[in-house]
């Protein structure tokens, strides 16, 4: 059906109006790379809506639809059921939603989808706030990060999405980071091959919302893992594998000094932050490797 | 047009009974019926009632029955639960009652019904089906009033309950029909 106006190497056009240095755009390219063209993608309004263009024009050359903010998972369930009723077991149904649409308003529909065991691949690009609408806090916003709704910094820590999915005993769930694209793509492939619901939670540095240099997107993704802010692991058929453990955690300074959203953090708060990050990292590793 | 009102307790199958009656007149006697149940927050043991209108023509009226021609009481204890079963009755109204106890009959005789048809439907149901749910057997008692034929009542009981349970309940209906007394 698509009328091709611009040449493009892949499923996603180059001229996407995402911000310069956007991690979500890179993630989307990886997703389309691995999944190929036999997909139906569901995107809620948010940053990922930039991939789809505007009006009659679209940046994705694949079958897809824009759902509402909170029902990515449930729309995917409906599409899956329809494909199943037509005997189609080859098409991958993908939900591609941000942290707000997943961890806040969309958590119920995601929970329902996982619990029912619908074969859907759900990807959460987590840029840690409602970036598309102007950097408002979400439940994925980290401790002390400043946003437009909490300029003094968020007083609580981030929600653990994969932990929630693991509590549903999801067949496959993983965290991933943009600095390790091979690992990311391997996980997307695994999720695609899962016979049941699968979830990938990717930390996405956002130059606009994190007030960082666009060039630092990958650096930040790497620093998040090395400082222990972000843990790379996967949950597969009830077994946890921690994919990468830094020999020694880097100081949190390396991660937050590159970001404007932590600019107002005092030395005292920084120490507190370091303590929380270290504690939660150690607790998490202990729990995962139990 | 005959207007009926069924009174009973939640769990006794009053709604099922109304289904049996409407099935009997609609499918086996070529007449028409409409049932309007009056239950809300479903729970066992609470008083419930159902309105049924039976007619030779398609029934238009779709609301509760306020002036019943026939009142069927599935559980005699209902009058102790703040339910006025004689509400709206007129001089020709008939009562169908699930009891054989003289003391209970005595109480009910004061309501001013023209006739009372009665039998111990619960006992008959228990004896034949093994379950003390009187909705099948009470259809037999109701049939004695002439609002529905006993043959079509039997068929309807079988239709609603399904073959196995239905046969036993139909038997109970027939037995109750034969055991029905009138005062």
């Amino acid at each position: 059906m698509y009328e091709i106006i611009k040449d493009s190497k892949g499923t996603l056009n180059h001229g996407i109006s995402a911000c310069a240095g956007c991690g979500m755009e890179l993630l989307a390219r990886c997703v389309f790379d691995v999944l190929g063209e036999d997909i139906i993608i569901v995107i809620p309004p948010g940053c990922a809506a930039l991939l789809t263009g505007m009006g009659a024009e679209c940046g994705i050359k694949a079958a897809g639809m824009m759902c509402n903010l909170e029902n990515t998972a449930s729309t995917c369930s409906g599409i899956r059921a329809s494909l199943d009723s037509q005997g189609n077991d080859h098409t991958t149904v993908v939900g591609f939603a941000g942290d707000g649409g997943t961890l806040d308003i969309g958590l119920q529909s995601l929970s329902g989808m996982i619990e029912r065991g619908d074969k859907v691949l759900y990807i959460c690009y987590d840029n840690e706030a409602y970036m598309n609408t102007g950097i408002q806090s979400s439940s994925a916003t980290p401790f002390l990060a400043s946003t437009t709704t909490q300029p003094a910094g968020k007083p609580t820590v981030k929600k653990d999405l994969v932990g929630i999915a693991m509590a549903h005993d999801i067949p496959y769930a993983a965290t991933a980071s943009l600095h390790n694209i091979a690992d990311l793509k391997k996980k997307i492939q695994k999720a695609k091959d899962t016979d049941g619901p699968s979830l990938i939670h990717v930390l996405i540095p956002c130059p606009t919302g994190w007030r960082s240099d666009p060039a630092d997107t990958i650096t930040l993704a790497r620093a998040a893992v090395n400082t222990g802010v972000w843990v790379l692991y996967e949950y597969e058929n009830g077994e946890v594998t921690v994919n990468y453990k830094p020999k020694e955690l880097k100081p949190i300074e390396e991660y937050i000094s590159l970001q404007g959203r932590f600019k107002k953090v005092t030395e005292e708060e920084k120490a507190q932050m370091q303590k929380i990050v270290k504690q939660s990292y150690e607790r998490k590793i202990a729990k995962l490797e139990k | 047009m005959i207007k009926l009102k069924f009174y009973g307790l939640g769990g006794q199958g009053v709604v099922t009974a109304s289904k049996i009656l409407s099935t009997a007149v609609s499918l086996y006697e070529g007449r028409y019926a409409i049932t309007v149940p009056s239950y809300g927050y479903e729970r066992r043991g609470a008083p419930v009632n159902t309105s049924i209108v039976v007619d030779d023509e398609p029934v238009l009226v779709n609301c509760f029955v306020y002036e019943p021609d026939i009142v069927v009481v599935f559980d005699a204890s209902i009058i102790e639960k703040n339910v006025n079963i004689s509400e709206g009755i007129h001089k020709d109204s008939i009562l169908v009652l699930n009891t054989e106890k003289a003391s209970v009959l005595d109480k009910y005789s004061k309501f001013g019904f023209k006739e009372i048809f009665y039998a111990d439907g619960t006992e008959i149901a228990h004896e034949i089906t093994g379950v003390a749910v009187p909705n099948g057997s009470m259809m037999g008692v109701l049939a004695k009033t002439g609002v529905v034929g006993i043959d079509s009542a039997e068929k309807a009981v079988e239709e609603v309950f399904g073959k196995k349970v239905g046969e036993l309940n139909a038997k109970a209906a027939r037995k109750a029909y034969e055991a029905t007394k009138k005062m």
Binding site: A81 | S22, L27, T35, V36, V59, C63
Partner: protein
């Protein structure tokens, strides 16, 4: 074949005959038996469909939209607060042009809590781009549901439809229903085929994209045109239905209006009771009549005008409180339809939260209208069957 069905099972029967492929339903009183029965017949293999046991009505409608766009005839049903929760997706389904047909069992929306019948749930969704059919009895539920699929899926319409049945008065009322044979319905209602927008990896397109201020007006206008076109399609489909099944379906039904002095316009299960009262009053020589509105959205302005243009006194019965409005919705529409005539149109509100609309109330309304017609009186009672001193209905003792 005649069967004894209640309104809910009649809706299920219609969905089964329409060969719905994907069902996503969430139980809510008084709709619950629809969800139960559907899951039961899917599990037993009596109906070949996928049943999604969703965790909310919002998800139910979302899943239906997804399934509908992927090429399945999708079905769900709801009621009251469930419909209110769906609200956002109701708009989406209409805008996306997913021709979903949904039985709605009318019930009052909390609060105050009531499990009983009222039209407020569907009335609050009336302008969101869905067609609405209101039914009088269980046969209507079955017939209009089957017809609604054909109307909704017409390529010029592509608009979802609600088939509204009154909670308990229809949903749980046992009635004798003529159920058509599957092969006859198959001939009447062909297999669902996507010709508008769809989700197909072999022939990709992106559905429900952002349009912005450039296209929004035009896309909405397309929906308006679909609604405007609907009457031709509805008439054709009703005609076909009559030819196939021998039962006449109506956009509006006029009941003894021809020589009537006063006419009452109403919808839903109460229309049966009103017909009964009309017959009774006619027997006493009182010239009363009724208009039953079946199609409420799109609103049949022309039909109402034709039916009532010569009437001097008209009552309109709304089973819905219209808080803060001049007239309740049905009455507003009737007034708009009769603009330019010199009809005296009176609004009546009643039957709220399941309060019974009984023959004596209807008779009172007709008598009031007759009084107005003969010039005996000018006043009428807006809220019928209201208890005395409603403001004191929660008078309590407090320590002061």
């Amino acid at each position: 074949m005649y069967k004894m069905l209640d309104g809910n099972t009649a809706a299920v029967e219609a969905m089964k005959l329409a060969r719905v492929d994907v069902i996503a339903a969430y139980p809510i009183t008084p709709q619950s038996t629809i969800s139960e029965k559907l899951s039961e017949i899917v599990a037993s293999g009596e109906m070949k469909a996928k049943y999604i046991r969703v965790e909310s009505e919002h998800t139910a409608m979302s899943a239906c939209i997804g399934a509908s766009l992927t090429g399945s005839r999708a079905g769900t049903a709801t009621s009251s607060n469930g419909l209110a929760l769906m609200n956002e997706m109701i708009v989406a389904a209409a805008g996306i042009r997913a021709p979903i047909v949904m039985p709605v069992v009318n019930r009052a929306i909390a609060t105050p809590w009531s499990l009983w019948c009222e039209h407020m749930d569907t009335m609050s969704q009336r302008d969101l781009g869905w067609m609405q059919f209101f039914t009088q009895n269980c046969q209507d539920v079955l017939d209009y549901t089957i017809a609604a699929y054909k109307i909704a899926e017409n390529k010029d319409i592509m608009t979802p439809a609600m088939v509204c049945l009154d909670g308990f008065f229809l949903s749980h009322s046992m009635q004798k229903i003529n159920v058509p044979a599957q092969e006859d319905v198959d001939k009447f209602l062909p297999q669902y085929e996507l010709t508008n927008s769809y989700l197909n990896p072999q022939d990709p397109m992106f559905v429900s994209n952002v349009v912005g201020m450039n296209d929004y007006t035009e896309v909405k206008y397309q929906q308006k045109v679909a609604m405007d076109n609907a009457f031709d399609v509805i008439e054709n489909v009703f005609g076909e239905f009559y030819a196939k099944f021998g039962r006449k379906l109506n956009i509006i039904e006029e009941y003894k209006t021809e020589d009537a002095d006063v006419v009452l316009v109403c919808m839903g299960s109460m229309t049966g009771t009103v017909k009964y009262v009309v017959d009774k009053m006619r027997a006493k020589g009182k010239k009363v009549g009724m208009v039953k509105l079946v199609v409420f959205r799109p609103f049949p302005y022309k039909y109402i005008y034709e039916a009532l243009k010569d009437k001097k006194v008209i009552g309109v019965f709304d089973r819905n409180s219209c808080l803060g409005g001049q007239y309740p919705p049905v009455c507003t529409e009737v007034i708009a339809a009769l603009k330019g005539t010199d009809a005296d149109i009176r609004d009546y509100v009643g039957g709220l939260g399941g309060r019974d609309v009984n023959p004596s109330n209807i008779e009172k309304i007709f008598n009031e209208l007759l009084d107005i017609h003969s010039g005996k009186s000018y006043k009428h009672t807006n809220w019928i069957d209201l208890k005395e001193n409603p403001m004191d209905s929660r008078e309590v003792f407090k320590y002061v």
